[in-house]
Symmetry: D2
Subunit: 392 residues, 4 copies
């Protein structure tokens, strides 16, 4: 399985093409729209989410709600393109009229300046920021929805929620209250902040409101958990076969993410060996299992069968309504940075995006090991493999 | 540029093959041995480092100390193999004699159990742990030495050091004392712990000594910095073109690493936008530059030209001399885990390994953008590109 | 540069996404439509080409007729989908009504049977043949048009024509009449068969007409030539870095192609060394050059600077109006194969498709070696490299 | 599965590293040496084959004759290096003494000139020809031997032989005499030319002898056949998933190969549809099968279950003892090309090399679809899949 996304923020369409999904997977546009809606609903999102409701259309690869085995194209139309049809016109030559709204004052923390240098977009940094935009994550969530559907066929569940926004934090001890990710999902999705409790939700909303009043933005952390993965996906044999490393790349590759950790993560820096390892037990019914999950579901870059626990950190959004110091690329004069419409925080949406990225990497790992041509054959192989592992 | 490592911990040889290094790069075995020695010298390493001194041999791809453009093979002989020549014999059939020293009690936190399940190494988990071993990092350091040599040709310097081991910490404010990485290198390499100061060094040694007395192991953090990278390597255009994401994968792909962050990293979770972004300035001589480096040298997954700052966290070594609870895979009876010869902490060596991995990713990024056939042509292109960026 | 195509023959849309095209390349929808029209115009094509005229729309990656550096999505609408909107509906569940027109009698020579087995499309082999269809080549020609545009910026021209259809042949000695590929293009594109001369054109039309009267199909050969490529693209250093080998894959990867050769190709089997090699000369103005081009522009898997000459063979179309022996996959009874609307020969279109595939591989090779971020920077680098090679 | 080869013709070692071979495959150095010997034994090979007998050593990845699942390193020592130890010294600086035997007169048809330009090896074209040498194919044969061993575990056999050398030809109708590839192997390997019959063998030897007397070289064709492949490997869904296309790349990627074809290949150019397709039949015991194998075992880029038939053409060796016209790269004066020790024809060895390359691609395809972690699990999956296909 591999995928590509394409699309500019105010261009006509957002596109994703996914190759290597087995034939016979049942999937509907509604399955994907449900995830797209989650991405749009986070507290602290700005106006754009009210302008348009993202819905997907299958352009290729699906027939009668079943995948064909051929490449799948997902399409989300940018409703807002109507307001930008001249400025973002693909096939009209540039004119004095359609090159208004140029961006010449790069925003610190965004790709504007470096992207302009790299691609020689000296005329208009819009050519950078139209792609280097949170809008692109729409299609990652769409691809992630397909991955989640595939994983659900073999009993793998994936869920993301918000750990903290600025100083307001969820209490992670609350996680022990829930028997499975579905119970957890019902709780965190009931809050507009995706926090773990009503108290945390209220505190986070208060931080966001206050930040907005300050014309500022704020960072936070999200956590993604996955249960039910077969044991032994990924491998220790080479640097680039480790599955946790692939997930690290997927998370840091999301706009604004500045770090990632697994299980206890950075807390390991102050721990001793006997506090960290997950001891090994065995019983007739379950086979081998662990007494804890300090390592976040990975040993040697491979899934252990315990819950996968991934944490990511999201920096504050760099587009400030009280802009920072910049320089006009035309005149080389100091100026405040450009203002593009933006949100107060991306953390609540980031939980959904990180969940999608983890789902994509897990689905890839499953399809690397098991038959990727037909979903039922894949399921049969997974089932046999699980029996084998249980009787090790 | 791509590379592969191969080799078992007590097998005859460790091997790395590197493809795509330009012709004409001056490199000697001594250049690599110097880095291998650094890896072996960290405080807290165990007995093996005293048994053998790693030295590399060029098997292919280098002639008269110049790369040929063809694949380069690096070879480090395992001196310790003499003691294991029957047990690890590649081409002898298994006999009752050469299958002694079986490992049947998997160590929690190591790849033993899961690796055994995945590859069906039910007879002997040694088949897993011989590869899933810190020994493998020898060759990553060797490959990293080639990458560092290449980077040095265009004025890129890369250096790793130790932030903390358990509760004993370097004071990162000390970093401001040094004008460049070479000054920093002279300091941190003067300490057996690779700490930032004599005080930190003493404190860290004390922690390691105490941990060893406790028959325990301990985790820590390392930091890698790189200066002089051309602006605009990596790209925002796709999830998998971001250079910071590739580095994240490279770091988490090192044995025992459980997390990675860039610049302020996880501190961003409690920060507001105006505290985080690196404001933009311009002057005639330097062109565009920043007033700070909070983002660790990356915007939009691209190098900004500021110093790259990567932090990784290393979990305690899972092989304890006071072993944890495990289960014999033959009898399914509870047992303490196996004991393999091991160190008290891997953090001091991890700084060198992480440095190598960052160097490899940076070299790849340079060779992706610039001519990868001849080193002088590459340098000419880099020079012209830097002029172009400076006059943006 | 990498690309993906997607789309079913009677589905709503054909899609291609291209990543890695430099920013700043001027390209219009008309540039692509011109190539799509060429694909549709060959003699011997059937009814479908009269139903619809393919035109492309840029969905992403292009603004004001300039590439942005971000992924480019090309879209060709299947006009014929109107007649198939229920049968090929992506998001409607299967019903008794929309599952008519099932294909259960696989056509020998097509992917129907094997594809059905592989993907478990036992219910309806249409799920195979909708993708394994000449329709898919539309998007390869579209991607090839972008590649050709990029190549034209550095003076590389690529052209494909028809060598023979069945027993009717072009005389390849006629090639010496033309000074460059553009002259050749004017001639071959003036004939509906893409032959090299009026005589050959007439003979080929006669063969096609006769074949059609026989309710049969017929094979042939096409040749693609490319001029102006920089010297030294591709490499001898590894099996998978040879550029001629990549082109071989691209050609055999086209539907119905059963072989490929370079320069003298299979004639080499009966030749002696002194008849084959291209002797080396030098003069002040041109630098090194050859006295002949027997090797088709490649030595050691690298471009020599001489014209690239690639020949491909196209098997007869497997869909016969007088169908061959097959078996119903439901009943296991012998039956004649299904009949889908089809052409008499694909050779005339295949010249355009093969040309596109060669252009894609050449563009990839150029972008591998030179800057792939901005078209002007790429051109500057190519120019300097050519100067260097000339003064070798 | 992926692999890399490394090594210069007169350097100390030839190396190959193979990743992704399942654990538990039984393999010995003798298995590989047997194939290396075949490569050295062809009629028409020159002196080098008498100087040294290639034997492999496992450096990594194999223990007690079983693969570990970790990367496998194969090593063949260049005995001839003793005579070149100064001139090819990796870690000595260049001196007046060790830079003798420079090559400055590029041989037409070899990579010398273009390679020199690309990598700026202006000082000594030996830096090119040491890698761009038939010596490199040693390691492909070694890797192919591992692939063949893996394939033999699931009943896939692969064999290559010589079709013709110059005007002397095997009669391919003789193929029908043999029930399986092993019978065929016994015949063709009994002849020093790998021809199909004693008559053809004698004729080919006569051509080679005569060519040698003429100080010339000669080309030819080889054919590789494979039986027993599971149905449905490779795919029609994308240009780069077709297995025949991958094989085409593998064949043309061998030194001196100028073309490749499948089944009837270029004969298709003059055929009509009803002469070409392989009609479909079914019986209770075998399931679906074909009445012929005109398409060489592929439909839609997928294996049909019929024998795979691949033909490649080998150009005459470009190193002539009566050298062709060239130019000294130092003086730009006309000169005859350099003479390096060489053979009269590579065709007899090429059959073994092409066989290896086909085996590698088939093994990759098997490991892409089935479990690649453990050989027994792979075999179990193949077995179940074959049952499924048989009952389609």
């Amino acid at each position: 399985m591999r995928y590509t996304t394409a699309g500019e923020s105010h261009g006509p369409e957002e596109i994703a093409v996914i190759e290597g999904i087995p034939a016979g997977l049942h999937i509907t546009q509604a399955d994907i729209d449900e995830q797209l809606a989650r991405r749009q609903q986070g507290y602290g999102r700005g106006e754009r989410q009210k302008i348009e409701t993202d819905t997907v259309t299958f352009l290729t690869g699906v027939r009668h709600q079943l995948t064909l085995g051929s490449p799948i194209t997902l399409n989300v139309h940018n409703d807002d393109h109507n307001n930008w049809s001249k400025i973002m016109a693909p096939d009209d030559p540039a004119t004095s009229e359609n090159t208004l709204r140029k961006v010449l004052r790069p925003r610190p923390g965004h790709a504007d300046l470096v992207g302009g240098m790299k691609y020689r977009h000296h005329d208009d940094l819009r050519n950078v920021l139209e792609r280097s935009s949170a809008r692109e994550t729409t299609m990652r969530v769409a691809v992630g929805a397909v991955a989640k559907k595939l994983l659900s066929e073999i009993g793998v569940d994936v869920h993301g929620f918000v750990v903290n926004v600025g100083p307001a934090k969820s209490d992670l001890n609350d996680l022990t209250k829930y028997h499975d990710l579905n119970e957890l999902r019902l709780v965190t999705e009931s809050f507009p902040t995706r926090a773990l409790s009503a108290e945390a939700d209220a505190a986070i909303r208060e931080v966001i409101d206050q930040t907005k009043r300050n014309a500022n933005t704020v960072g936070g952390q999200v956590q993604v958990m996955a249960t039910g993965m077969p044991v032994g996906l990924g491998s220790y044999v080479s640097a680039d076969t480790k599955l946790d490393a692939k997930i690290a790349r997927a998370i840091v590759g999301i706009n604004a993410f500045k770090g990632v950790q697994f299980g206890g993560g950075f807390d390991n820096a102050e721990k001793f060996g006997d506090q960290v390892m997950d001891e090994i037990f065995w019983d007739e019914k379950r086979g081998f299992y662990r007494g804890s999950d300090n390592l976040g579901g990975f040993e040697g870059g491979m899934t252990t069968g315990e819950a996968i626990v991934v944490r990511g950190v999201v920096k504050p959004i760099p587009t400030l309504y009280r802009p920072m110091q910049s320089v006009d690329i035309d005149t080389h004069q100091d100026h405040k940075a450009s203002i593009e419409r933006s949100d107060t925080t991306a953390v609540t949406a980031a939980a959904v995006i990180a969940e999608a990225m983890v789902a994509i990497e897990l689905a890839k790992a499953v399809l690397d090991k098991f038959d990727a041509d037909n979903i039922d054959r894949m399921k049969e192989q997974v089932e046999r493999y699980r029996d084998e592992i249980r009787s090790f």
